[in-house]
Point group: C2
Chain length 242, copies 2
Amino acid sequence: MTNQDVTASSDVADLLSQAASAQERFQIMYSVLRDRICMLVYPPGTQLSEETLASEFGISRSPLRKALQILEADGLLLSQQGVGTLVTEVDLQELTQVYELRLELNELTGKLCPRPLDRELAVLFNGLKLRAERLSAAPDRTVFARLNIDFFHAFQQLTLNVPLQDVSEKLFYKTCRIWLTLIPEEDLQKEVAIFCGEILEIANAVRLGDFQAAALIRRAHLSMGFNRLKTATQHGADAKAV
Amino acid sequence: MTNQDVTASSDVADLLSQAASAQERFQIMYSVLRDRICMLVYPPGTQLSEETLASEFGISRSPLRKALQILEADGLLLSQQGVGTLVTEVDLQELTQVYELRLELNELTGKLCPRPLDRELAVLFNGLKLRAERLSAAPDRTVFARLNIDFFHAFQQLTLNVPLQDVSEKLFYKTCRIWLTLIPEEDLQKEVAIFCGEILEIANAVRLGDFQAAALIRRAHLSMGFNRLKTATQHGADAKAV
DNA sequence: GGGTTCTTATTTGTGTACAAATAAACGACG
DNA sequence: CGTCGTTTATTTGTACACAAATAAGAACCC
């Protein structure tokens, strides 16, 4: 069972009861909750009740709290006694710094410990290419967000440097909500088209074995995408101010 | 009260009882434990007892566990049911990847969001320079390790990019134990001399406001230091094999 | 009506008892 | 004597009850 299946599963309690160890149970809860936060099942500002979640998962608050505490350390949640556990807001100014760092890290992904191109990698990116083409034909916010996440994970595979993978993942999940939260409905089709173009370009670079090129393309698109977002929200704020 | 005083304090229970909120109490426990791990008060392989630690801190296991869980996420501890909570071993091969990443991040510290040179920064690095000179005159493992930690934190101040600071800090604490664990006693004086030289060079670059130069020097020394360590342990292993 | 104080409901934090898992010690058996 | 299985001690994991903190609402006063 892949990670995506886990996060997309509706009955988490079943999964947890089948898990062998405490570590596995933690991993499931962590993945599910992080996915729900990033897919805006829990939009920013949502209050999560430990009691409610625990009963949904069929466990007590104790093991659940570990997952919540790590997510708090990740910057996705904020717990306060007497108040509750809240999903953090998406702060564009704060995320600007994260993006600056992600730009550089993405370039490193193409340089540090490159993974040799093998059949598995080719299949992975080919699958993403197909999904991108399908999404392009029928733009959809949720499908877009899911492909964005899966594409990130595929891109990570270009390097074998584990710490780089870990750091990049944390930062990705810190930022990936901006798309679903800040892209206006009328811009969706345009953004989807750009994103799918990026996937095709990068899949092509990967197919040729030029990971450094893939990384540079990725970096360029990240940079441009964030700038579009910035100007778009700026205009939106201006319009609202008027 | 500075962070160092907190970590160096002998009576953690007092500090905890004075802390106002749960978050403060967590921060104290986390800092103290991380410091003990990195200063080899708890050498790699040490088994930490939740019960014992909790009673030392004058609290129950519940709040302590949060600190332990975050340290586990940091890669400094490993908890397993029925076994215990163990301080992770220092694996040179694993840390090679971390170092590769740290090299690049240190260069970024000089490039991203440079902090304007002010009086506070000058005083900070000047203080480190004095400590380096004193250490150089009387080499000592513990003083060396403490200066290494404090110097890292000072270096971090050269950038205002918070995510970069956070990431660098996590990676630093993941690696900083290699010096105390792997440097042979006979090499200590030599290593101290090199390290103090690095501090003087970097403090000088900072004084001139050239943070990028400071970052490049830092990167060079990190790289060379790790290579020395690698060859030294390789020889040590060879000698032992003979 | 406005403001202030008190009450109360709700939520996370903490303490404690017990369950589950592991490993070491022990003993039976071949 | 060694090996396998069992027992037992120890440790973290989990459940649950209660404490502490916060915020919203009620009651009261001015």
